[in-house]
Amino acid sequence: MLKRDRRRRRLRRWSAGWAIFLAVLLAACTSQSGSTGSTAEMGETAGTGSGSGSGGELIIAMTAGDVPTPDTYPTQGQEGLRFVGFQIYDALTRWDLTQGDTLPKLVGGLATEWEVSEDKLTWTFKLREGVTFHDGTPFNADAVIFNLDRILDQNFPYYNAQAAAGPRSQTTVIAGYEKIDDYTVAITTHEPFSMLPENMAFVTFASPEAVKTYGDDYLEHPSGTGPFKFERLVPGQELVMVRNENYWGGAPKLDRLIVKPMPDASSRTAALLAGEVHWAEAPSPEAVERLKSQGFNLITNTYPHIWRSYLNQDLDVPKDVRVRQALNYAIDRETMAEALLMGLGTPSTQFWYEGHEFYHPDAVKYTYDPEKAKALLAEAGYPGGFSGRIVIPASGSGHMWPIPMTEYIQQNLLAIGVDMKIDVMEWQTMLQNNRAGFPNDRDALGFAWGTPTHTLLSFYNTVHSSSPTNHGKYANPKVDELLDQAYQTFDEAERNALIREASRIATDEAAILFVVHDLNARALAPNVKGFVQPQSWFADLTTVWVE
């Protein structure tokens, strides 16, 4: 207990040091935005309504390193999709992001309804009528086919490998597609696949006319059906969007939406404090107190994210389930979430957070129990512990703060005799090494990273023995069977039960080292109103306005 307190103190001192450093950087005296004290209630209705030019201009500082390309599947990964892709374009299906109390439900986007055939291989999508692209051309079955050709048919004159690459892991299941009538399309899958509607939420649609007219220059004239229309892109600086008056889901309140890439967390915080942006994604934990005290709204919510470390089960030591469990019992997640992450993360003891539909209440709960950890290690034949190496990315979206977090884990593990060296790698280098097997070389014991859109697919890839990205090589035939079955189960409740059971087994067997779930923190200026933080990486900006 004493030791724990000391560690907590050390941690506090550590974060206090950072806070002082930041305070020096970010000023000792009051800044102009500091005087606005009152924290506005989120979710109140717009006083001005959505008439003409009432919602103002919203500037968002993204974590992206560059302006995402405004293609159907933008660059800059999930960040590009969140703030550019899903703002300019729509997919057949989408998540209802208007509430934050439960996981978002899949609802109709450019399709209003869908059903699967008797043999479970053909899905029929009824398209929304009366929708037009930003360039005025109509959205219909021809547009759907054109766009699917653009990313699936390599002989199509307008095939675009870059646009195809992004949603690739969602589209490999598609075997064919055809137009039934002007507002009906059929999509067939290679095998019965119950998650197709979910996968289709990642496939967005561009105006065929714009693609044909501008060809290679399409990215300078992108045209979708989304709530915001592309206005201009200033390279390296910003992407400006204006509201789509004719948005089928109701015009957004904002007049203009500007997104800026700001990969450095302290730059984002500084820009927010200086009033240059209204909205900063992922402020660093050290800045939390200061932002709150200056009246900024710090918004968090749980969402399907997981920050974990794969445990290399090609090696003898982590192959022993008791060792993996011991490591899991050694992590003091509570203190990490509170003192290191300042509440921007929440402890993770299984693949999903409590309240998520895949969370299993009866799975083994990995509390902080170093004694139990030591006992398990002794039982496994390592009473004095062992040493190893853990590989982490230096930074990147969804990875939170890999270095201090892993240093914290290192301390925890040292307490049970496990001496872990940290190997920091640049993200791209790490990806390259992953493909050769376990990162870097095969003697690394752990490999940690965060996944911001943790879905059935990423769970499958983490634990299924036939997944090429199951980096830890965890294998359990029962888990494989349950997951395969889940993909073929078309009843949602039944499917969820299968996934829950697979998750319970993989949790009990400590398939990975569970650490934390991110809380998707963002800081909003007090004059930003109407935003609801959903339990999702993505965000609905149509309800937002700036006073």
Binding site: V24, L25, L26, A27, A28, C29, S31, Q32, E57, I59, G65, D66, T69, D71, T75, G77, Q154, A161, Q162, A165, G166, R168, S169, T172, D216, L219, V234, P235, G236, Q237, E238, V240, R256, I258, K260, P261, M262, D264, S266, S267, A270, A271, L273, A274, G275, E276, V277, E426, Q428, T429, L431, Q432, N433, R435, T451, L457, S458, N461, P468, T469
Partner: protein, 320 residues
Amino acid sequence: MLRYAAYRVMLLVPILLGVTLVVFGLNQMIPGDPVDFLLDADATPADREYLRAYLGLDRPLPMQYFTWLGNLLEGDFGRSFIKQRAVLDLILESFANTLILILAGGTLAIVVALVIGILSALYPRSPAAMLANVLGISGVSLPNFWVALLLIGLFSVTLGWLPASGMRTTGSDFSLGDLAAHIILPAITVGLTTVGTMTRIVRAAFADLLKQDFVLALKAKGSVRRSILAHVFKNALPPILTVAGLEIGSLLGGSVITESIFSWPGVGKLMYDAITQRDYPVIQGGILFVSFLFVSVNVLVDVLHGCVDPRIRKSLRGAT
């Protein structure tokens, strides 16, 4: 003189050819792959192979190199894998912004260095000399990413005088005043190293010359201080010019970090992003472009030498 200039320009060809080889080779040595930036982490090996073939990355390296070189000769720098735009357009667009930054930073640095360097050579025990010492040491030793953050902390966040990033106010149209406000902090950051180096060079050159016999002779002749200084200045120019020419390299190099911190949309930021995304055509085109610029400036400096230094002119005449 003309022959000398022509000779120097001709030397550019093998140098740049060497640069293309090095750049291409270096790119192959960086671990990582542009297709990872386009595909998500769950992509299958087949998807990766297809995309690699589509981008031409599966061909033998010599073939890739010569195709690139051939296209270069036709003025085609290729197309960005990631941004899907012509590389030359991307470079030229962003280079205009870098040029603005470097000119501002360089001019600032040279003016400061000249004033303080000369003053400290004339009055070796004055506060100016101390300032020269401080600038000389801190300029070359303070890392510019750190200085940049301090400047942002003080002038943007605390005082709120200057914007923290970008080249213009978000969402607004271009205006000169707006640009001036945005350029001050990055210009100081990028020019700092140059101030350090140049102050020391200027002071050393002047201090050295002031001890020379011709200065004594001028003094004995009764020349006024201003005319002595004019003579000294002429003699000090060659070494200062040489270093100033080389400093272009340091400014260009410094701009990579500075532009990334201040989100200045220049070549440095373009390159930084291209490297993190493994956007080979942009990395190759960008480095080649910057190298071309650097060696050209140095040829220009060498030729200018001949103009300001009659000794070089004479020796050239003797040699050819």
